[in-house]
Symmetry: C2
Subunit: 142 residues, 2 copies
């Protein structure tokens, strides 16, 4: 049987994070020792590894919850799992697009500024006046 610290070491999650996952119902309540300490089996370890790995790929905890639920019915079609992954891919792509626009704007700002004094700083001017921007970065999700 594995202590919470061992799970933490093996998966890279922090101890508090594992307890947090339990609190929000993502990890099941494990067995306890007589003294009240958590003890996990391999199922717990595997589930936590799944969660952490999914998090590393950017899935939200809600999406992970969905994936875990779906994986409990092995005979069903995996179309829904596909859809969750597809959605995640789209989100990642949207974020890349947005960040690339920001990168262009930031580079341009930095390029243009050759001032010495704050008073003439192009960066501040651009930040002050949206009209100086090429893109219309609209503040939807960075």
């Amino acid at each position: 049987m594995l202590s919470i610290g061992t799970l933490a070491k093996r998966t890279g999650a922090k101890v508090q994070t594992i307890r947090y996952y339990e609190q929000i119902g993502l990890m099941p309540e494990p067995g306890r020792t007589e003294g009240g300490q958590r003890r996990y089996g391999n199922a717990g370890l595997d589930r936590l590894a799944f969660i952490r790995h999914s998090r590393e790929l950017g899935f939200s905890l809600e999406a992970i919850r969905e994936l875990l639920d779906l994986s409990d019915s092995p005979e069903r079609s995996c179309a829904q799992i596909d859809a969750v992954a597809q959605r995640q891919l789209h989100e990642v792509e949207a974020r890349i697009t947005r960040l690339k626009a920001l990168r262009i704007e930031l580079r341009r700002m930095l390029d243009e500024c050759s001032a010495d004094r704050v008073a003439d700083c192009r960066i501040l001017e651009v930040l002050r006046d949206h009209e100086e921007c090429l893109s219309n970065h609209d503040g939807t999700g960075i």
Copy 2:
């Protein structure tokens, strides 16, 4: 004199957000009417526009605070402002790099999965087993 609602409309910020900026000291406390409602001048409007625009470019509120402080000393060198913008650019670039790695991994997952049943789903297999990944996405800042 401008009401908080007018500022909100002109900058695209929500009324609560403006009050929040005031609360954390990013916006100065404006004058008030006899009845206690906030009234702003053009300085307030400009400052809020600066904040919103910087947010759209991904600057953190702390970075914005720094930029606003720096812009108060127009005779100083703008090297520090440059540094803040440079830092932001690096962060954006790091995020792009990371997201591109995620995109590759997600695409590969989706490509490989041609199963019908959840039981054979490649996506779940990949999520279960980190070894199946090509990249070592390490969970540092998405």
